[in-house]
């Protein structure tokens, strides 16, 4: 792969990751957020493939294919099924004003760029220079978990966080050993399945999926 093409692909995939993350914080429709997860998963798989092929790893297409199937197809499908099953396609209430949410998201992205610099040091490697995008995904995922009440949107935030970590892993270390990648992907898939089942159960037992209404246990 020529260096120019490599840089172009890196820039495109990381750009898509950041764009979808900001759009997920911006939007209120859960169905659209899940749709954005498909794009995000595809971009992540593309990123892993790009970095892996550039580094000459034989397992890269396998890992990328697995990521694509799990993160861009299976997980969104599971979540969409849960959302359809309980008939919730939109966020009901906002805890914060939309402007505050967005300003927070902008601040976190800036923070991601600010903290990644000192940790990574001075580098000319294009992959390492794109790490802040992964860090912003992680922070925006946390932000989503923090500000959103709906269980499904929280799940989307969790997946954004996970995609961010996968992106950082691919960008900094060129991916982890195959066993670990397989195990980690499987684990996240299982977590999503469990949370999806819990969401359906929550709707059946409580009649809503608003996390902020869960206040029975406290001290």
């Amino acid at each position: 792969m020529s260096s120019e093409l490599y840089q172009q692909l890196l820039a495109t995939t990381t750009g898509l990751l950041l764009l979808t993350a900001v759009l997920q914080v911006w939007g209120r429709s859960t169905v659209r957020a899940i749709g954005l997860l498909v794009i995000q998963g595809t971009a992540l798989a593309g990123l892993v493939l790009t970095v892996g092929v550039q580094a000459g790893e034989a397992a890269a297409p396998l890992v990328a294919g697995l990521l694509f199937v799990v993160k861009a197809l299976v997980m969104p499908w599971v979540m969409l099924r849960s959302a359809r099953l309980i008939g919730v396609t939109r966020e009901r209430s906002a805890r914060l004003r939309p402007a505050v949410e967005l300003i927070g998201a902008a601040g976190l992205t800036l923070l991601a760029y600010a903290v990644s610099g000192p940790i990574l040091g001075d580098t000319t490697d294009p992959a390492t220079r794109a790490v802040p995008v992964g860090v912003s995904l992680v922070l925006l995922g946390f932000w989503q978990l923090l500000i959103r009440g709906s269980a499904i949107t929280q799940l989307v935030g969790f997946l954004m966080l996970d995609n961010g970590i996968a992106a950082i892993s691919s960008l900094t270390s060129g991916g982890l050993p195959l066993v670990v990648e397989l195990g980690a992907t499987l684990d996240v898939l299982l977590v999503v399945l469990i949370l999806g089942a819990l969401v359906v159960r929550m709707q059946a037992e409580e009649g809503h999926i608003d996390i902020s209404e869960l206040r029975e246990l406290h001290d």
Partner: protein
Amino acid sequence: MTIESLAVIVIHLALAVTLTPVLIGVMRTTRARLEGRVGGGVWQPWRDLRKLLSKQPTRAPGSTPVLTLAPILLMASSLMLCALIPLVSTVALPGVPGDLFVVVGVLLLGTVALALLGLESGTAFGGMGSSRHMVIAALVEPTVLLSIYALSVPAGTSALAAIVQARLADSASLLNPVSLLAIFALVVVVIAETGRLPVDNPSTHLELTMIHEAMILESGGRDLGWLELGSWLRLTALLGVVANLALPWGVGQDAAPLSLLVGVAAITVKLLVLGAALAAAEVFIAKLRLFRVPELLAGSFVMAFLSVSASYLVF
């Protein structure tokens, strides 16, 4: 003023004026076909325009010269916009470069002309439309500035032509995080500024939901014709900026006849495809409640802001 840049400007203006009604026609036809209607055909806006321009305007007694001047001002600002924006070629006018700030200023001039016209008519709807238009304009301008500014950081200049040239030279920067965020923000504000769905419905007949249409409700004849053409030209210019920033291929870099020809063909294709895509997307979108429009524009502002900061921090 060299002869080359003069030629380029003439081509820009001629292209804009001839292409704009076709663009509107294509957009309307696309939408009509997707909605299962036949539509008026691609040339209908041309015929409408010709008919309107040949008619005497009716002006209410006691109206001020604003009623006469606003359409001319809008038309003039739109033409100037088309001349400044690198639609066909990046050859710039010496002395008056197509600077980002100049472009936004000229854009605002047209906005103000329209708003004054709405107020001048003295009816409830006109004033309402003007106030809504100004709200949107106030939210749109900073985003336009910021998002193009983000793209101007790697180029090192705020002249639009130079930015397009730099993006043409460095194709790796076309899809990086900075430019993706900036282009997305720009698309949102262009939609808002030109009064398309989901911000404003250009084909509405319900006065209460109108923004753009409410302001020109009282105009007729030649005045209306100029107003329509002026607003359409703004759409052409803004879409052209987005198209050439996102996909700069085909823009001429000199005034040689061949490159101008390629440039004309490229921008025509880009504009028509982009317009058709916009119209197709509009079929699936419902109009946003007015109170949620600031939310939408705040989002695009944040994206533009992010892209500016990202452009300083990494790329």
